[in-house]
Symmetry: C2
Subunit: 426 residues, 2 copies
């Protein structure tokens, strides 16, 4: 019986291509023309063959595919960009024996790879072709460093105090194997194959220098699925993120990003990410009546308006009572407790993905939120808010924090630089 892994022709079947074959490096730009970055629709009149047999509608490149985020920017991509339909979170640990030098080479390779993929070009080595025909699809790649990274690389003196371990919270049920990590990579894109392609390319560039510690997949609404000018919904059905800080607000940068003159110097224009896998206890949550759900959150489920009235963007009136003297927004409502003006101005930018990893054996969905929040200082962002939630937030009953990570995410790399270079070559 022939070995099926060897192509059977009459003679020697093939000359293996060189490992880094130039033939693999055909730029997707030649397929996209100049449309990739500009949103011009190519091929709209072309016949669509389609995978399924149905007469599929022509499939033009829309802004979903052509939208492109830039890699060389002041702040790393993936922080203030719009939510993407698909996300991957990956923590890597440096391999035994790998130190500062190997980490520097890895971040250089990763930065080159991320820049090319975000431009809709193939990976620098052995591209898998999985995203070959697609536009950049708003791909972003974001890199961060965990507490343990600095020990392993002998860079303890460069470790920011802000990376000190988070305090324990009573609602924590943390799985350490899915928490922390030396390096953290966040991938987001509006196309699942583009996102997977990036995940695989970055994993392969890690080579012998680092290996995956944990990895999680998430999703958000697809662009174009809704006409409603509202904030995103989570898997509880609630509009979530209404009170997120807005870049137009005067203190946005101060709250979210380390200043250009901040400490340590390598974190200039960077930010700190708190990453938590928050399981939603949907079976319990969905047993509540609509009224009870709204009282837990403090907002109307349909449109996110505060229970004190108005629409989603109306400021919440915490003192307002009904005819019986009852607070319209209950004292332990989630939206009351998380109000920035009740938390000493603590603010963080939440930019999550939902997750769903199937069902437990008893039919309980393993689903919830890959919570990611960004702030200039976790001790003035996530920590004080979570402390307050921990003391009596009505929503906490329906949530379980299953993993936790805290990562220092340096500023964006300048042209010719790689992410973290000021740390690793400082």
């Amino acid at each position: 019986m022939p070995d099926p892994s060897v192509p059977q022709t009459r003679k020697a079947p093939e000359t293996p291509a060189p490992e880094h074959s130039g033939a693999r490096g055909v730029s997707r730009r030649t397929l996209l023309g100049t449309a990739g970055a500009t949103g011009i629709v190519l091929g709209a009149a072309g016949a669509s063959v389609g995978y399924a047999a149905a007469p599929a509608p022509a499939a033009p490149l829309t802004s979903l595919g052509s939208d492109r985020a830039m890699f060389h920017v002041k702040h790393q991509p993936g922080i203030t960009d719009g939510l993407q339909a698909r996300g991957h979170l990956i923590a890597f640990d440096l391999a035994p024996g790998a130190g500062r030098k190997e980490a520097a080479a890895l971040l250089r390779r990763w930065s080159t790879t991320a820049e090319r993929l975000m431009a809709g070009e193939p990976a620098p080595h052995d591209d898998t072709d999985v995203s070959r025909d697609a536009g950049p699809s708003s791909l972003t790649v974001t890199f961060g460093f965990g507490h343990s990274f600095f020990t392993r690389t002998g860079l303890e003196k460069q470790r920011p105090a802000a990376l000190d371990p988070l305090p324990a919270f009573s609602s924590d049920h943390l799985d350490t194997s899915r928490s922390d990590g030396d390096l953290w990579v966040q991938i987001g894109a509006n196309d699942s194959l583009v996102a997977f392609h990036a995940l695989r390319a970055l994993q392969k560039e890690a080579g012998g220098a680092a290996r995956i510690r944990w990895q999680m997949n998430g999703f958000n609404r697809s662009p174009g699925a809704t006409a409603h000018p509202m904030t995103a919904r989570n898997l509880m059905g609630q509009i979530d993120g209404t009170r997120n800080p807005k870049p137009a607000e005067p203190d946005f940068d101060r709250r979210i990003f380390v200043p250009a003159s901040g400490e340590p110097a390598w974190m200039a224009n960077g930010s700190y990410a708190v990453v938590r896998r928050i399981r939603m206890l949907l079976d319990d949550w969905e047993k509540l009546s609509l009224t009870a759900q709204e009282a837990v959150v403090g907002r109307r489920k349909s449109d996110g308006a505060p229970l004190s009235g108005g629409d989603e963007t109306t400021p919440m009136d915490l003192e307002k009572t009904d005819a019986h003297g009852e607070y319209l927004v209950p004292l332990n409502a989630h939206a009351r407790i998380t109000r920035p003006d009740r938390n000493g101005g603590a603010a963080m930018l939440r930019r999550p993905f939902s997750f769903h990893d199937g069902f437990d054996a008893d039919g309980t969905p393993d689903a919830g939120l890959l919570f990611i929040c960004w702030q200039a200082d976790p001790l003035r962002g996530f920590v004080p808010v979570q402390r307050k939630l921990d003391r009596g937030d009505a929503l906490s009953t329906y949530l379980r924090h299953e993993s936790s990570g805290l990562f220092a995410v340096p500023g964006g790399a300048a042209k010719g630089e790689y992410v973290g270079q000021r740390l690793l070559e400082g």
Copy 2:
């Protein structure tokens, strides 16, 4: 310390809403207007609040959101419809004690739920609001019956011979806990929240009658991510599905669907689905050179053209040799072995989702294809093709069949009917 699950107001906080509150049943049609089914863009000029803080572009309802598949059609939806960006496959087993009567009631509930959700309306009971603002997003729900269903319901005499267990193949590494099942539900949509919403609604409607046996999540390219009029790619980077039968072909219906006069009568206009979780051994595959990968498949990776020349749609010339007398399409190339004209006309309609469920501890991706193929008779579709592949397909080395299911999918339900009614009340 107050019980955080009880909203704290000054008096008794709430009157629980009735279990099936009408207040939860506000139709999303009131949000979508008439645009849901017609593709008119609503709210394109509306300000988008957006979840992240970035000045998100306005998010109009595009055809991605407004496209709608019909429930009451000759063949069930989700068979010849275009590939969707997100998919859920779920197998249910009837609960102990549940029989034909409970199954009939369940299929009636499921059909009502599927029809409403596919129209962009809320679920009939306790809608979770997860897809409240979204259009139908091409949602399809498809129902099928497995071999064991007929035993559990005393309907053995109605069991089609076509549901006889598939033969064993040497490449099978089947996990029985993720194989088979009494009932099978396929959900597809172009928005992940719409798909999850449907999954959860159908699970809840199962109530005490059936419970989840296994469940898998998958994905395909997002509409608009590519301008290229080519067939879909899989996670090996290959264009896959080029030779799928097309509805315009004269024998399409005969090959894919049971005739209206076919046997058993309740399967009129139905089809049989073979469902396999096929893991791709990507670490091995990606070590091959481009030339070797193309020889394994028999087609060019870049554009899917046969190695005998032309473009993706050019018929493959199996006899063509190069200057050295070597077959251009190797004898064990996947595309040669699966050619319908080499399989006694065997044909199936493949309509898969890719999957990626993270990584094994050693960094191996748990990824591949949720292979779903449709045919009028598995013994003249999947089985003969897989038998040939099993005997020396070069691609089999890089694949592992990890689960298998075979389901009888009845024809579409007429107005006022539910799916499977002719079986369950026949």
